[in-house]
Symmetry: C2
């Protein structure tokens, strides 16, 4: 997805670093248990669980290599560099796309509102204005089709 959509990043970015961040952040989520973004309870200790997981799995590696992965993971989480911002755009755009293709059944099951999805997806804009434009269109359409609560 990063390779295919890199031309829509707001700034010229280092693709290799972006891909590495995307790969590494998923390792931490696998170890910590992925947290449903609209689950307020599970999100309370998400940062703590993930920091612990990062320590554990990157700690398995030789120090220099472990530190490199830890830095990549932290960069992704901090969302400050253009690479991290674009990586986070993709990480939030993908579920939106999947919900849209799936007809929003999970949104309806969990009674998710437009407001919740807007808050969740807003960081897409920091990495890619073009993807954010598409995201807004998908959200509007989902409201129109009754797939998201208003």
């Amino acid at each position: 997805m990063a390779v295919t959509l890199v031309e829509y990043a707001n700034e010229s970015i280092d693709l290799a670093r972006t891909i590495q961040m995307l790969l590494v952040h998923d390792l931490v989520e696998i170890d910590a248990g992925d947290t449903y973004c609209h689950d307020a309870f599970a999100n309370q200790d998400k940062a703590e669980r993930e920091a612990k997981a990062a320590d554990r799995i990157f700690g398995l590696l030789p120090a220099e290599q472990g530190q490199n992965y830890y830095t990549l993971w932290k960069e992704f989480e901090d969302r400050e560099t253009p690479e991290a911002q674009f990586a986070n755009s993709l990480d939030r755009f993908l579920p939106l796309l999947q919900h849209t293709i799936a007809g929003g059944s999970r949104w309806q099951e969990h009674k998710i509102s437009k407001e919740q999805v807007m808050i969740r997806c807003r960081p897409i804009e920091d990495g890619s204005a073009v993807l954010w434009q598409q995201a807004e269109l998908m959200i509007q359409q989902a409201v129109k089709n009754g797939r998201l609560l208003t």
Copy 2:
């Protein structure tokens, strides 16, 4: 795996290109159906099935982007550039590692011989002498433990 083991590539390589090749070649295998490497019958039409799959899935994209992926896939398959050679090293090293960790049960189930695994793994050496050395040790150990036929 490419990020973690890149220091063992025989030559200094472009990591981004290597990762892209690894990602892209799996897309083709998903579309064509992954072929068990020791299944002589399924391997007869593997190249043809995969070329057809590559045409189909890369053909879904805008021409320029599709061509870029096709080029990456072809580079992986041709195993001529240092990046393609290292990508292929990993693609062959990983199953060997997994068989070893799993105690070789699938090898035994299919009555696989040392010779078959040696032929399959030989290209590891073209991309990484270090990984090939490890591969040889794993294969020797598997023979010693009766997990591979001699």
